[in-house]
Symmetry: D4
Subunit: 248 residues, 8 copies
Amino acid sequence: MDRARIETLLNEVREGRTDVSAALEKLRDLPYEDIGFAKLDHHRALRTGMPEVIFAAGKTTEQVATIFGRMAIAGGNVLATRASREAYEAVLAVESRAEFHEMARCITLTQAETTPGKGSIAVVCAGTSDLPVAEEACVTARLMGNTVELIADVGVAGIHRLLAQKDSLRAARVLIVCAGMEGALPTVVAGMVNAPVLAVPTSVGYGASFGGVAALLGMLNTCAPNVSVVNIDNGFGAACIASLINRM
Amino acid sequence: MDRARIETLLNEVREGRTDVSAALEKLRDLPYEDIGFAKLDHHRALRTGMPEVIFAAGKTTEQVATIFGRMAIAGGNVLATRASREAYEAVLAVESRAEFHEMARCITLTQAETTPGKGSIAVVCAGTSDLPVAEEACVTARLMGNTVELIADVGVAGIHRLLAQKDSLRAARVLIVCAGMEGALPTVVAGMVNAPVLAVPTSVGYGASFGGVAALLGMLNTCAPNVSVVNIDNGFGAACIASLINRM
Amino acid sequence: MDRARIETLLNEVREGRTDVSAALEKLRDLPYEDIGFAKLDHHRALRTGMPEVIFAAGKTTEQVATIFGRMAIAGGNVLATRASREAYEAVLAVESRAEFHEMARCITLTQAETTPGKGSIAVVCAGTSDLPVAEEACVTARLMGNTVELIADVGVAGIHRLLAQKDSLRAARVLIVCAGMEGALPTVVAGMVNAPVLAVPTSVGYGASFGGVAALLGMLNTCAPNVSVVNIDNGFGAACIASLINRM
Amino acid sequence: MDRARIETLLNEVREGRTDVSAALEKLRDLPYEDIGFAKLDHHRALRTGMPEVIFAAGKTTEQVATIFGRMAIAGGNVLATRASREAYEAVLAVESRAEFHEMARCITLTQAETTPGKGSIAVVCAGTSDLPVAEEACVTARLMGNTVELIADVGVAGIHRLLAQKDSLRAARVLIVCAGMEGALPTVVAGMVNAPVLAVPTSVGYGASFGGVAALLGMLNTCAPNVSVVNIDNGFGAACIASLINRM
Amino acid sequence: MDRARIETLLNEVREGRTDVSAALEKLRDLPYEDIGFAKLDHHRALRTGMPEVIFAAGKTTEQVATIFGRMAIAGGNVLATRASREAYEAVLAVESRAEFHEMARCITLTQAETTPGKGSIAVVCAGTSDLPVAEEACVTARLMGNTVELIADVGVAGIHRLLAQKDSLRAARVLIVCAGMEGALPTVVAGMVNAPVLAVPTSVGYGASFGGVAALLGMLNTCAPNVSVVNIDNGFGAACIASLINRM
Amino acid sequence: MDRARIETLLNEVREGRTDVSAALEKLRDLPYEDIGFAKLDHHRALRTGMPEVIFAAGKTTEQVATIFGRMAIAGGNVLATRASREAYEAVLAVESRAEFHEMARCITLTQAETTPGKGSIAVVCAGTSDLPVAEEACVTARLMGNTVELIADVGVAGIHRLLAQKDSLRAARVLIVCAGMEGALPTVVAGMVNAPVLAVPTSVGYGASFGGVAALLGMLNTCAPNVSVVNIDNGFGAACIASLINRM
Amino acid sequence: MDRARIETLLNEVREGRTDVSAALEKLRDLPYEDIGFAKLDHHRALRTGMPEVIFAAGKTTEQVATIFGRMAIAGGNVLATRASREAYEAVLAVESRAEFHEMARCITLTQAETTPGKGSIAVVCAGTSDLPVAEEACVTARLMGNTVELIADVGVAGIHRLLAQKDSLRAARVLIVCAGMEGALPTVVAGMVNAPVLAVPTSVGYGASFGGVAALLGMLNTCAPNVSVVNIDNGFGAACIASLINRM
Amino acid sequence: MDRARIETLLNEVREGRTDVSAALEKLRDLPYEDIGFAKLDHHRALRTGMPEVIFAAGKTTEQVATIFGRMAIAGGNVLATRASREAYEAVLAVESRAEFHEMARCITLTQAETTPGKGSIAVVCAGTSDLPVAEEACVTARLMGNTVELIADVGVAGIHRLLAQKDSLRAARVLIVCAGMEGALPTVVAGMVNAPVLAVPTSVGYGASFGGVAALLGMLNTCAPNVSVVNIDNGFGAACIASLINRM
């Protein structure tokens, strides 16, 4: 549509129905809504296949609520990540249908149809402490129309627990694997499947884990060729990519 | 086939045609060929959807040639990465059909049919110096049956050069974006497409680029939700994942 | 004046009106006022073209108020950065004309004429979370007599939002660009203008952003030749340099 | 001109003299020349006020010579940095007027008039070992039409040597200060002048200098408000910015 | 005395007045007093020329008070560093003569004569925020019998303020120089005197100061040959060494 | 038993008493108990010689109590490390026999017999502040059936205190040495004994200790050949390994 | 013997057969042989259970040969690690029985009986490139009297290859596991056995492996409780500790 | 003399014998000799108590020879550090009395009387590989008029070798202790003496020694209060400070 609209505009210029300066102005205004402290990019879905999302961590609860409300009016599904319960309460005052996912620290609003993913996404995590990141991935992927299976607590030091899940792992079309500490789980999982694996290092650990750096380095240095990596604790990003792949 | 063979084996045990210790032995022998200093995993393709590959950097030219020869006999396509011309000459003595890709530093043997990818893979790079990594990705992806388009020298400091490639970028089913220095190219590309972007930091740069660390960090911290990252200079890995996705 | 005063002094020595030891003493006393825990450098403006400023972060509210009061008496404009509301209230008790800029965390007193800058300074930032740093730059630059335009929320993952601002960007005589996460915005902006760009990495981000280090490295490794960099979150410093350039 | 040409094009579309698809094509072709492994951006001068430059370090001598030749034909002045004597000899075969600056490791071709800078640029360095970086800055700034004064060997451990240069320092309209080891020189110089100071950390040092990181950190943490920083050893970048400022 | 006592013991063994196993036991018991969770090393003064000191940061207030009380009984002067007011109050209950130095975060007890230092120690610091570290050095050095002069707020960006203190600096027999941010002050001071300079990096700064690392690296890479360095914020250690030197 | 049970199962398959799919199911179910957010690995003792342990730091008090209760029912000894008093109180509500070790931050339940270690384990630490880590090692090692001797406050700057403990050190079959700051103690101890030394870096220190990194690096670079290292503050891990060795 | 000799000496002092100053001298001379640039510690075996070893990397071939010769005369077995073929040839001139192990880069002389280890040591490595480190461990462990089994090329991305070695792994009394890249192998192996695992990170890898740092961090952050770690590439150290344990 | 000369000059100004501009000029010229690429600071000895020294590492052999020759003519003793044999041969052509110290990599010329130090300086090092750094310290200290005793190969893993040197260590007025790897030697030595200890980390080691960083951190985190630290491998700097102290 984005492209179509621009072609239309150029044709209008050609036919003299729109003059040059007006055309320039329209091209500029089209892509976003300016609400002062933020520019909302409602067309993002067209360009990148996923809605713009509110990263709540660096924003006041008022900012979160205002942006959430505007996005709700735009009609799509809405997601706020790294959100506190306080932010959720501020959002509720603006949009009563919003839901809170405590462990995932996410606020969602489901109001639009989404293209369903073609297969299922497996979200795998190494330990109980990795669950918040894994849940952020689950909530995000489900909001984008995917069937998600969570496989928890299958760390590599008890390899038989992981092997017991081989069928579930192989059933997935794409996998998200979250792990802190040494971050070895994505490599081992990747060796068991023939699907893309998205590795999410988590900040779980202590001492020389350096807030997830050890896990991140482990994943980047994987000897498995089907692993790519996102930022530490970025369950949301992994789910976006998994969702794009699952729609193919 | 792997699973089928094991079921067969278990049924043989059940029917008394194979005794328990022999079954244990067979299960052990099945998955690889042992050539002393390496265990060749010919079944890897079954498990992960891509052939085992020779990472030549840490091996002697003799080791590279020996492994390459054994893999050639196994009948699949063969790839050696990070290979010197010397390694290629040693391989030629063993397998005369091998080809050398100088800029990509790859040796290939194409002898088997591959499942063709469904769409095309775009390999994008920021500068001339990133070409070896981009070429490694191209060679790998082509060997795995993909149509590949290389878009070179479109760094973000001259954004119009990149914008001019918008149609080529949007035509790809999955993109590999290689960049050194500040590593911003994958983020900008990702904002222009609705496909998964695999970011490959390169070790191109000087001073505070720290051999690719600056680019790596830039990519991990991307504000685009459709970017995942592989290790510095790992064009091969990016191509493997892109190929898996492109077959879906 | 500094130089003139010293020449005068040397001439007095020559003419016998001031003896050598007195001259030595005067040269020593001239440059600052000693208030015990600090030496106030009222002549700094003469040497460097900008007033000394109070970095409030490492000081007690009492220290901030005392120094602010002394500087107010000296007659120039006064600026305190990284100031809390508590510090502002302590300052108000000493100097009732002081103003507080909450988002920028700055206290200002405007009482002196300043040489106006010749053109305008654009302050550009990537996201809502970068606003405190961008506002610190705006407040500082305005206090030094510059016209400032703030362009917010134009991150590189939605490049069209940035392109829509091309005219505003090109209208500026010098630009300050603040960005966290991957820190790519200064490079892209710099490719669109022919003016100096001052890049300010912000501590916005999470995981492998390492409190602004990823953005800092990205900016230092820029492939654009018209970018220089200041410390993480140092909106003040960027504004000082921009102001010096804008007066040329 | 860039803007003018695009307005002309849009008017041609309006008047029916150019059709839409042709216009799209022209807009794409205009900005650069594609020579296969590189896209030469002859319009860069229009956009950013300085010519595109060849960073020779990551390129073969053939690539350097080819690009240099093409740029020479385009008519502007040409600069290659981080160039070896071998690269220079390859360039000479293509363009006999090229000059080599051994200490600066630069190849230049001066054939076009440049807008002269309004004042002079001082290039200051701490020790003899910093000279290659300082000379790169000098060569670059001179090629861009500036008067340059080099002030060498004035490290901060012998502060009187630096103080003796006060008049020269104050005479400059903008200063480039190169230093390795502890990187303190830009701060001390900045306290003596009221002009912008561009700090260039050099990789000179040993042990805990970490190839220039100590100097870089020192410069970023400067307590002087008129210092901004470029990448380690980036004399070229500092000269570009200084030149932009000096033309104001 | 330590050596004398052991010689005596060996002679007693020789003369049969002490048998071998008793001698072994005595040699073991002599050097410290065991109070369960700590072994108090009252002989440390004999071995190293300075009393053992309580580093309060990692201890409970009860542990601090107990150790302080035992040391007070041993008769020497006592020092606790990094002590809170709460720790001081617990100490007061045990030893009413103890004094608290708030800015220096030190508790002291002065009850013994000390060998006075031969000259004076200058403690120099760059900014107001460095004062706690500088004061820790002052308190420690005074307790060890030295005359101390504090010279505050003489940062290198206003070099004239430092030059004005030249006589005071040259009057000192040994100097302690504390600085955060870029950590350049010790180098500049060291170039002005012919005495040893002990550099103390402080954790003052923000962004790329990394809690004092930038200052530490700056000091280690000093181009002045008379500077040695202690740990970040270690005013105590610098004072111990300065005191040892000042007694020579 | 693990192996025995699987052999039995295979024999049952052979003899037709169990069919193939049931056998697959049993092999999968055997190794752990699934309680939703965690999979309890009661067979771990069989595989690795030590019970699974609850790392309480990243878990809610409810999660700790639930897991502790389930493990208590399984009949072995139970250990929770990094536990707060609050977690202990939640555990008490579930299992009244649980004990709390405040300094060690451990909750234990002793109900099963353990194979006693053959000799004793010495736990050595450098300073009072290292005691929590040393105590975690002591509690863990005792729960696993070992005799433990704690030797505290024997830092290397007072080498005679350490030398006085030579007999105790040599009496141990295996040693655990905890140290923060420069982390030199394990090396010195290792030079005095002919037993394996497990080095535990602690996060004790300040400034350039970087939360235990300095100690960790010191230990990894030991010039003694009988030292191996565990993660920072990992007293538990060191005790597990020491216990395994002590049972040999 | 060391202790016995000192007791004898003290008794001689007691009985007047040795005077005090002579006794002091003897105690000093006893422990080593001084050959100018090195002090040979022939008694080390008594103290630590393993012979002193020549780390050849930082020494000239002459130094290596001289020390090797002296140690050969002392009668024990001799080992030089990180030795070049040139060093071996220099050693041969001094001691014709010396052997060279090319892949392990070790020179050995076997002339003394050693206490045999009680069980076997398994040396496991992930890839062909880890073999030099693994071989250094093998050569060292064998020289110290152990039976060693090498299990090569069992990386975690093909977990079935590792599982196939379960019996060999469980047969070992202690295991040495060498891995580069993500360093996950020791954790997975440790979960399969109930013996101590010594993890050796290798410098194998590229990009973000940082010369073995990624593997080192992965091993330190292991979630298996029976893993301890030695320095990068330190196969020798791991073998020393394994040998000590295997003699218990 | 420096001060005297300036007083004289000011008096000449006062008496009209020198006019103001000439006085300014003289003050500028006085302190150094300008030889184009370097400014020789012959007065440095007056200011800092030690001659300027040539750090040869970053200079051409011609530059080293030229500076060495000029300094020789100035009449003092001359020292070049980090010098190759080639540099020495170039120096010899200019100044035939120059001497080369191969292991220390120093060129010296002894022609002037120096104030002898009052006591002796002990230079202690841990291993044979640390000798180049220790020798640099010895050569420097001897050239400055000190008696130096070298105590080599007394690493902390064989503590008895170090204890045997107690008398030598205690005889020194100041100590320089060089160590690589874990860098623990200065701490242990410092606990045995009551003199200042200058710690020199060396780049000796491998793996996680990171070119001397592990040793540097160990020394900065020393628990001994009489240790200060210089840059990695900086034997020269340590000797300068030791010499200053030894003259007191």
